[in-house]
């Protein structure tokens, strides 16, 4: 159910909730994924974003998000300068991502040799949907802490992961399982949580033999 606070707010940087605020939240998701400002990034703009990247400040908003700036901080307007002082180099390119929401961007970012690729859509009123994290398809809002786990596709794998999360009193809000191929015995799960996980929980998860890789993204607000 929509809240009155969503109607009379939020406080944000203009001029557009879809093309400025939503765009910024997608790239802030990438910042949260790295946990710091990446060294370089390419923004592949699809659909309307190609038209709005100057006029609605979509480009600046995306740079600001990747620098970890808050969504209602007036510094968004000078994000290009902040990127320079944070050591972030970036470029914008046009792309056709096919049958996705008109406001969609693919962000490929790199830090210390680690590369992540995120595709996200701004779906209106400042809400976003992350639809791909490192080629794993998902439907993540960014409003909740998100875990992306690559694990061995064997009996009991899911149970052992869920047990560690629940032992720490964190409730699972949404969960999505995907198997790449039955032969490779690799599966992915995307989990949205009600509360943030402590670093120690992530460490414990990483110690599980069945886990190949793990990405943890803090909630956007």
């Amino acid at each position: 159910m929509i809240s009155i606070l969503d109607v009379i707010g939020p406080s944000m940087i203009g001029p557009s909730s879809s093309h400025t605020l939503g765009a910024m939240k997608i790239s802030k998701f990438v910042y949260n994924l790295f946990g710091s400002v990446p060294e370089s990034a390419t923004f592949y703009l699809h659909g309307s974003f190609k038209e709005t990247y100057i006029g609605h400040g979509t480009g600046l908003a995306m740079i600001a998000g990747l620098c970890g700036i808050d969504t209602d901080n007036p510094l968004v307007a000078t994000a290009d300068e902040i990127a320079k002082s944070s050591g972030l180099s970036y470029e914008f390119k046009a792309i056709d991502l096919g049958d996705v929401h008109p406001n969609t961007v693919k962000i490929v970012a790199q830090k210390n040799g680690t590369i992540h690729e995120i595709i996200g859509s701004s779906i209106g009123a400042g809400r976003i949907k992350i639809i791909s994290i490192d080629s794993i398809l998902c439907q993540v809002t960014g409003d909740l802490p998100t875990l992306v786990i690559e694990n061995e596709d064997i009996p009991g794998a899911l149970e052992s992961i869920v047990r560690i999360i629940s032992l720490n009193n964190v409730n699972i809000a949404q969960m999505n399982l995907n198997r790449i191929s039955k032969g490779s015995k690799i599966a992915y799960m995307v989990i949205e949580l009600d509360y943030e996980l402590d670093d120690s929980v992530i460490k414990t998860l990483k110690m599980l033999k069945i886990i190949k890789s793990i990405i943890y993204v803090k909630a956007l607000n």
Partner: protein, 296 residues
């Protein structure tokens, strides 16, 4: 409490003798789990953003993203003492244009209910504040305005892309008119009439931004919204009633929105955006900024 219309809220308020904002707070608590205090505290923060932004931006010029606006707020601010329409209305219009031009220059705004219509509500609330209405009363009026907007969101839309500018400036004006009635001591029924009269007068307003940018005609429409809100607040408080109830006006607004062609729903292809001057502006602009295609 199964609220489906604004009239439900007014009815409950009249039957129980409880004030309208209290009914709205309880409705919100049942819907979202937010306590009364939490909602009031957050609404107060949003009002604070409006206050701070106007205080730091008043009388200034703006370098907007596309440069189609940015010089208007200062002109109006300087003209204020000479305004024939009266101090309150002209001040509300000036504040609305100031916040809208700030929005177009990547300033901080409150999307109340949208970024494109973000000048209307501060125009009305801050004028009331300067006229001596207590801040606590303004916060409660903002919450009542939120209930008007929430009903529009539930029954229709607040998006120009879906239903045209009537859903953005029209909704903001209905919300602000209701807030003005409530802040100045009007009753719940008068709040509803002021909202209905406002939305009726903006029925059919199309969303036709030049080049798709939130500048022309958006900025000056915020001035229209803020002044109309004060006008219909007084008209409703004088005892004039809307012949058609607010909820039915909202439904009609959505039906009109659905029948608008896509060219008049935020695509920048119809209305003002399709004039020869608008096309010339856009042509100059797109030659200046072009991004390369991905060849990798």
């Amino acid at each position: 409490m199964n609220v489906k219309s604004f009239n439900d809220l007014v009815d409950i308020s009249e039957k129980t003798g409880e004030s309208l904002h209290k009914i709205v707070l309880d409705w919100e608590m049942l819907d979202t789990g937010y306590s009364n205090d939490r909602l009031i505290e957050n609404a107060s923060k949003l009002l604070k953003v409006m206050e701070e932004e106007y205080e730091s931006k008043k009388g200034k010029t703006f370098k907007t993203l596309v440069g189609l606006t940015g010089m208007n707020a200062k002109k109006m601010y300087d003209y204020l003492p000479d305004a024939f329409v009266g101090e309150h209305i002209f001040k509300a219009a000036t504040i609305a244009v100031t916040i809208s031009e700030s929005n177009a220059s990547m300033g901080r705004i409150v999307a109340c209910p949208t970024a494109g219509a973000s000048g209307v509500m501060p125009g009305v609330l801050l004028t009331l504040e300067e006229a001596g209405i207590e801040r606590e009363k303004l916060v409660l009026s903002l919450i009542v305005a939120g209930a008007i907007g929430k009903i529009i969101a539930m029954r229709a839309s607040l998006s120009g892309a879906e239903a045209g500018c009537q859903a953005e400036i029209g909704s903001a004006t209905a919300m602000a008119a209701g807030a003005a009635v409530y802040a100045t001591g009007g009753n719940a029924r008068q709040v509803s009439h002021a909202a209905a009269l406002s939305l009726k007068s903006l029925m059919g307003l199309v969303c036709d931004p030049v080049g798709g940018f939130v500048e022309v005609p958006c900025v000056k429409r915020n001035a229209a919204g803020a002044s109309l809100a004060f006008l219909f607040s007084d008209i409703a408080k004088s005892g004039v009633e809307s012949a058609i109830p607010f909820d039915e006006v909202v439904d009609a607004m959505m039906a009109v929105g659905r029948s608008l062609p896509e060219s008049l729903r935020e695509t920048g292809k119809g209305g003002i955006a399709a004039t020869p001057t608008a096309k010339r502006i856009v042509r100059n602009f797109s030659e200046k900024f072009k991004i390369s295609d991905d060849h990798s």
